[in-house]
C-alpha cells in the first residue's frame, strides 16, 4: 500500500472500497493511489476484484462504501458529474464493444461529435490521425464485423483516445485475442503510455507488465495485498500469496 501523500499529486485516490453482489463480497477494503502519468498494472487471480474496481472508478458499477476520487471528481458522491468524469477517463474492455452498426470512422467520431460537440470536419481529421497512430490507416470505412479481434481492439483504443482522456483503463484487453494479435495491441498500449496518459492496466501478460509498469499491484480477495516496482514484485515478492500466484503463472 502506498504512503499517504498530498491528494493533488495523485490523480486517482481510492479508499476502503467495499462492494458485494448479494452474499459475495468482491471488493473488501480496496485502497489504491495512482499518480499522474503513472503506469500502474493490476495483477492477481480471477475474481479478486480487478475488473470490478475499474468499473467502479468509471461509475459503471456502484459501491457499498468507500471513496473514489479521480482527477478531482469524487465519484462516490450521490450525484457525481458523470459527463465530466467520463471525458477524463477512458476505458477499454475485454470484448472491444465496438458499435456494430457504425463504420470505424463513425465509431471513433461518435463521442466527440455527440458529447464534446465538435464539428464534423476536425473530428474526422483527428479520427484519421488516431487511426494512423494505432496503425489502421485505410480502415475508416470498414465495419467492425469485417475486422479481426486485434484490429477491433485497436479501434476501441482509438475511439477512447478521441475523447482525449487523462486516464486510460485497460481491462484484460488481450485476454480474448489470438497470441499473434496480442502483440500488436500491446504495442499500441505501449504507445499510449509513452504519450503521458495515466494508465491503469489489468492484465495477465506478466512479461508486458514487467516491461511497461511503473508500479505493480497484486490483488487478492478484494484488496491490494502488495505493491511495488515491477523489478521487486516479480523477483522478490514479500507476501506469500503474491509468491504463490507468480509461481503459478510464470
Amino acid at each position: 500500500m502506498s504512503l499517504s501523500t498530498p491528494a493533488d499529486s495523485h490523480q486517482i485516490v481510492i479508499r476502503d472500497l467495499v462492494k458485494s453482489y448479494g452474499s459475495h463480497t468482491v471488493l473488501n477494503g480496496m485502497s489504491l493511489d495512482v499518480r499522474q502519468s503513472e503506469i500502474a498494472c493490476l495483477i492477481g487471480p480471477s475474481g479478486s476484484g480487478k475488473s470490478t474496481l475499474l468499473r467502479t472508478i468509471n461509475a459503471l458499477a456502484s459501491v457499498d462504501s468507500g471513496s473514489i476520487d479521480v482527477c478531482g471528481i469524487r465519484v462516490t458522491d450521490p450525484e457525481p458529474d458523470l459527463l465530466k468524469l467520463r471525458r477524463q477517463v477512458g476505458m477499454i474492455f475485454q470484448s472491444y464493444n465496438l458499435f456494430p452498426h457504425l463504420s470505424v470512422l463513425d465509431n471513433i467520431t461518435l463521442a466527440p461529435l455527440s458529447v464534446l460537440k465538435e464539428e464534423r470536419g476536425p473530428a474526422e481529421e483527428r479520427a484519421r490521425a488516431l487511426l494512423e497512430k494505432v496503425k489502421l490507416t485505410g480502415k475508416e470505412n470498414a465495419y467492425p464485423g469485417q475486422l479481426s479481434g486485434g484490429q477491433q481492439q485497436r479501434v476501441a483504443i482509438a475511439r477512447s483516445l478521441a475523447m482525449q482522456p487523462r486516464v486510460m483503463m485497460f481491462d484484460e484487453v488481450t485476454a480474448a485475442l489470438d497470441p499473434e494479435t496480442v502483440k500488436e495491441v500491446l504495442t499500441t498500449i505501449r504507445d499510449v503510455a509513452a504519450s503521458g496518459v495515466t494508465c491503469l492496466i489489468v492484465t495477465h501478460e506478466m512479461r508486458f507488465a514487467r516491461e511497461i509498469a511503473d508500479v505493480v499491484h497484486f490483488t487478492n480477495g478484494g484488496r491490494i495485498v502488495e505493491s511495488g516496482p515491477p523489478a521487486k514484485i516479480f523477483t522478490a515478492p514479500e507476501d506469500s500469496r503474491t509468491r504463490a500466484f507468480l509461481e503459478r503463472v510464470l
Partner: protein
C-alpha cells in the same frame, strides 16, 4: 479518511411495498363492488344462464381438442417432411407449410364449411359431418402449418452427433427419428405446442361467425331474446372471463416450462 455510503435508498418505513399492495387490493375490491351494484341485474342474469353457457363452452373445448389433434398429426408429418434429405419432398413440405401459415384462419374455416359436404360417403355408409366438426378441422388445418414449424425446430435442435451415432449403430432414418431424435425433441417442443393449443382454442370462437352453437353464439342468442342495452357490456365481458380462466393457466404453465427447461440446458 472519508467513508460515504452510497447504497440505494431504502424506504424509510419497512413494508412500504405492503401498503402499496394493500392499496391495490382495496382498489380492486372497490371496482368490483361498484361493478356489481351498477350491473346487478345483468350479473344475476348471467349467473342464472351460466350452466347453459358453460355447456356451450364445452363445445369450444371439444373443438379445440379436435383441432389440436388434426394439427398435431398433419403438422408432425409436414415437419418431418421438411427435414427430409429428399430435396423435392422437403421443398414441397416447406411450400405447404408456408401456405398454411399464411392462410387466415377464418378463410380456412370457410373453406371447410363450404367445400366439405354435409354428408360423406365412407365405407359404404353416409356419415353426417356436423358443423362444429368441420369448423374444428378448419381450424386444425392452418394450425398444422404452425405445428410443422415447431416439429422442424425440434428436430433441428438435436445435434448432428446424435444422428451420426445412431447411424453408426445401423438404424435407418425412420428409426432414428422415432427412437432417438423425436423423443429428445419432445421436451423442447412441448411449450410451443401448449401455446399452439391455446391459440387454437381461442380460435374456436370463429365458429360463431358460421353459426356453430358455441359459447359466443349462445350468448348472442340469449341477448337477442332479451335485448336490454345494459346487458351488452357484461355479456361480452363474460366471454372474456370464461376464456381467460381456461386459457391463462395453460399459457402460464407453458411459459414456466419453457423457462425451466431452457435454464437446465
Amino acid at each position: 479518511m472519508n467513508t460515504q455510503t452510497i447504497s440505494a435508498s431504502r424506504p424509510a418505513v419497512a413494508g412500504a411495498a405492503f401498503w402499496w399492495r394493500l392499496a391495490g387490493v382495496l382498489a380492486l375490491l372497490a371496482v368490483a363492488a361498484w361493478t356489481y351494484t351498477r350491473y346487478q341485474q345483468a350479473i344475476d342474469l348471467l349467473i342464472a344462464w351460466t350452466p347453459g353457457l358453460l355447456a356451450s363452452f364445452v363445445l369450444n373445448i371439444v373443438m379445440g381438442l379436435v383441432a389440436i389433434a388434426v394439427a398435431t398429426l398433419g403438422g408432425t408429418a409436414l415437419g418431418i417432411a421438411q427435414c427430409s434429405p429428399h430435396r423435392r419432398r422437403a421443398t414441397l413440405a416447406r411450400q405447404v407449410t408456408l401456405l398454411l401459415r399464411n392462410a387466415p384462419w377464418l378463410v380456412a374455416v370457410f373453406y371447410l364449411m363450404y367445400l366439405v359436404p354435409y354428408e360423406v360417403h365412407v365405407f359404404g355408409q353416409y356419415v353426417f359431418v356436423s358443423d362444429w366438426l368441420k369448423a374444428a378441422i378448419g381450424i386444425g388445418v392452418p394450425a398444422s402449418g404452425y405445428m410443422s414449424e415447431i416439429v422442424r425446430g425440434g428436430i433441428r435442435s438435436i445435434p448432428l452427433q446424435q444422428w451420426e451415432a445412431a447411424s453408426a449403430l445401423g438404424l435407418d432414418r425412420r428409426q432414428i427419428l422415432r427412437k432417438v431424435v423425436l423423443p429428445q425433441a419432445l421436451r423442447s417442443m412441448t411449450p410451443p405446442w401448449m401455446s399452439l393449443y391455446c391459440i387454437v382454442t381461442l380460435s374456436t370462437s370463429l365458429a360463431n361467425i358460421l353459426g356453430v352453437e358455441e359459447l359466443m353464439t349462445s350468448i348472442s342468442l340469449r341477448l337477442a331474446g332479451d335485448p336490454r342495452p345494459e346487458l351488452l357490456l357484461p355479456a361480452h365481458a363474460y366471454t372474456f372471463i370464461v376464456f381467460f380462466i381456461y386459457i391463462y393457466p395453460i399459457s402460464r404453465l407453458s411459459r414456466r416450462l419453457e423457462k425451466k427447461w431452457s435454464l437446465k440446458e
